[in-house]
């Protein structure tokens, strides 16, 4: 028996060694051959909560399709940095590019060069606002119509009541997308003869709250406030609560994050306009893959927004936000 036991131990040891030696050579899933490499170049760094979701959409799509996807975005908003990143991305000769057309003039030359080199280019998040013949000849745009977003925001507030005065608090001055949201809001409010203007609040929450306080002190009749993203929502909600203006001021905002959701649930914020930016990362990779693989492309721009999140659907959206999908 003892001899048998010894033999068994030896056999087991040998098997274990064999298994150990073989393990690294045969990992469970066979590595997928990456067929294409796609880059997303954006004006927003992965730091921005909004762009983190786009990044997740991109990564999730890259798990579904046999592609390598990489994300580039300047840490701090800078057109120059965006152009530099785009130039390095083009130099790496990817199989496809998805770019935010944050500054059409600055991006015109590098993108035309990329298209000339045969790199398929799609615009995401921010489109080139110039007419068809003039604009950068990218294939199509995946994202929200920002101007329409601002218009719908104003309409939604006007449906509740006509404000005496409205203000659009912008946290990233000079950003074409945010400016378009603001402009849509301004134009629609002006149509109804509501006095309306822009306010530069910056990205620091303390300073943003004080800027809002000062504005409402100077213009106490203000009763409609539009913010353009989480960096505006948080200070706006804080301000409305601290100054007991909840219910007196119609507050609408753009883009979702946990703070926006609780503000909607508490009734501080009337609505948030969501552009489902997960799709902008996911669809960019999907469409670029389908185009490279089969030459398929949508006939038109792919609009991912504006869509509304309000008291009615906030619970549903909340779960997805936790997963970083909305």
């Amino acid at each position: 028996m003892i001899r048998h036991a010894h033999r068994w131990i030896l056999i087991l040891l040998a098997l274990a060694l064999l298994a150990g030696a073989c393990a690294p050579a045969t990992p469970a899933p066979t590595p997928v051959q990456k067929e294409f490499t796609f880059y997303i170049v954006s004006h927003g760094g992965p730091a921005d909560p909004f762009w983190g979701v786009v990044l997740k959409g991109m990564n999730d799509a890259a798990k579904v399709y046999p592609v390598e996807a990489k994300y580039f975005g300047p840490e701090k908003f800078s057109i120059q940095e965006l152009v530099n990143l785009l130039n390095s991305a083009i130099a790496a000769k990817p199989d496809g590019l998805a770019v935010t057309i944050t500054d059409p003039k600055a991006l015109d030359e590098p993108l035309r060069r990329a298209i000339q080199q045969g790199i398929p280019v799609v615009a995401i998040n921010v489109a080139d606002p110039r007419p068809e013949g003039e604009r950068i000849p990218y294939m199509f745009y995946i994202g929200m119509d920002e101007y329409l977003g601002g218009v719908r925001a104003a309409q939604r507030m006007l449906a509740v009541r006509t404000p005496k005065r409205a203000v659009c608090a912008i946290h990233e001055v000079g950003h074409v997308g945010l400016e378009a949201r603001c402009q849509g809001f301004l134009d629609e409010m002006s149509k109804k003869n509501v006095p309306v203007e822009k306010l530069d609040i910056g990205t620091d929450p303390t300073k943003a709250v004080e800027a809002l306080k000062a504005y409402f002190t100077r213009n106490p009749d203000t009763d409609a406030l539009l913010t353009l993203g989480p960096l505006g929502t948080d200070p706006a909600v804080k301000f409305l609560k601290e100054d007991n203006l909840v219910g007196k001021v119609l507050h609408g905002t753009f883009d979702l994050h946990p703070g926006t959701l609780s503000a909607i649930k508490e009734g501080v914020t009337l609505f948030a306009i969501d552009q489902q930016q997960y799709l902008q990362g996911y669809m960019a990779i999907t469409w670029l893959y389908l185009y490279k693989k089969y030459g398929l492309r949508p006939a038109n721009d792919v609009l991912t927004g504006p869509g509304f999140v309000d008291k009615d659907n906030v619970g549903l959206v909340e779960e997805l936000i936790k997963q970083g999908i909305r």
Binding site: D48, K76, V173, D200, E210, Y215, T217, E242
Partner: protein, 338 residues
């Protein structure tokens, strides 16, 4: 030249000379705060005239709230600048330590422990800055620029770009940034307390003397037995800890911190410090001046909105008013010193 302008100029010169006499007679010119006070009064009176509601309690509370967070950072930056060094990493340290605090309280740590740990983390970063600068004999401008980028990058990598939110409250968080009557916040008290302590330390203790000596004339200081490196290292640690305190105060108020938190604070703190009369070259300056400088920055931000400055000229005005405040400051001081 237009004779009227010549006349106006000579009138200005007589004014300045008269001012200088007053200043010299009373011996005020020894104090760097004099120029800062002049800049402060100019900005204060200017906005009182052009901005309605500027002289209301709410507006003053707003100014104080902006000045408190900026000022806490700037007090550290001032001490360090007097000792002859820069710290550009304060914005990143502010972000990293408030993020660390946020993560710890979310993980269920007692708030006081998290508070202490976050400050200790900042102190360690400050010590590292100081160690590299003094041991490597490297310019602090470059070292802390690198440190600023490095810690910002760490912050981004750790959070994956998402903000950290925390719903809970505690007496510590209230003590840091709770609302006080009149729209003031507890942060203002912290700011005034820290500024008061720093002023006493700087003007009434041997360490304060060592700080001035280390920045003014390091060789002479060393000859007199001042441990210049040690003084600078302590300066770096204090600066980082104060930046962390400001960051945690801000987190306590908003309950959230994003990875970009604190960006640009380093330059605003330097602006407040220099507006307050501290020399960029070290060896001369005052914390009270920095308090005034931080208040000037707060007044400009608040006052411009109250004055109805058009949104897109706002930033340009901030730059203009700051430079004007510095010019007034230097003019007063130079004419006083002449």
């Amino acid at each position: 030249m237009d004779p009227e302008m010549v006349q106006a100029r000579s009138r200005w010169q007589t004014y300045a000379q008269r001012w200088a006499q007053v200043v010299r007679l009373s011996g005020w010119r020894r104090y760097p705060e004099v120029g800062a006070l002049a800049g402060f009064l100019a900005v204060f009176i200017g906005f009182s005239v052009i901005a309605p509601y500027f002289l209301t309690l709410g507006s003053l509370a707003g100014i104080m709230t902006i000045a408190a967070e900026l000022g806490l950072v700037a007090v550290g930056v001032t001490l360090l600048m007097i000792a002859g060094e820069f710290d550009l990493s304060v914005g990143s340290v502010l972000g990293v330590s408030s993020m660390a605090f946020a993560l710890m309280v979310r993980a269920g740590w007692p708030h006081l422990v998290a508070f202490g740990s976050a400050l200790a983390l900042a102190a360690a970063i400050g010590a590292l800055n100081g160690w590299v600068v003094t041991r490597g004999r490297l310019p602090s401008f470059i070292v802390t620029l690198g440190s600023m980028m490095f810690w910002r990058g760490v912050l981004l990598a750790v959070t994956g770009g998402f903000p950290i939110a925390y719903e809970g409250t505690s007496s510590l968080m209230f003590a840091l940034s709770g609302r006080l009557p009149g729209g003031f916040h507890a942060s203002a008290l912290w700011f005034l307390a820290v500024a008061g302590i720093a002023t006493v330390v700087l003007t009434r203790t041997p360490f304060g003397n060592a700080v001035f000596a280390a920045g003014g004339n390091p060789q002479a200081a060393r000859a007199l037995g001042v441990e210049v490196h040690r003084v600078k290292q302590i300066g770096f640690v204090l600066t980082a800890v104060l930046a962390a305190l400001a960051g945690i105060i801000q987190f306590s108020r908003f309950g959230s911190v994003d990875p970009l938190r604190g960006e640009g604070v380093e330059l605003e703190a330097i602006a407040a410090t220099v507006t307050g009369g501290t020399l960029l070259t070290g060896g001369y300056g005052s914390v009270i001046g920095t308090v005034l400088g931080a208040l000037i920055v707060g007044m400009v931000r608040n006052g411009l909105v109250l004055a109805g400055a058009p949104a897109y000229w706002y930033r340009a005005f901030i730059g203009l008013v700051l430079v004007l405040a510095v010019i007034i400051n230097l003019r007063i001081r130079r004419s006083a010193g002449a």
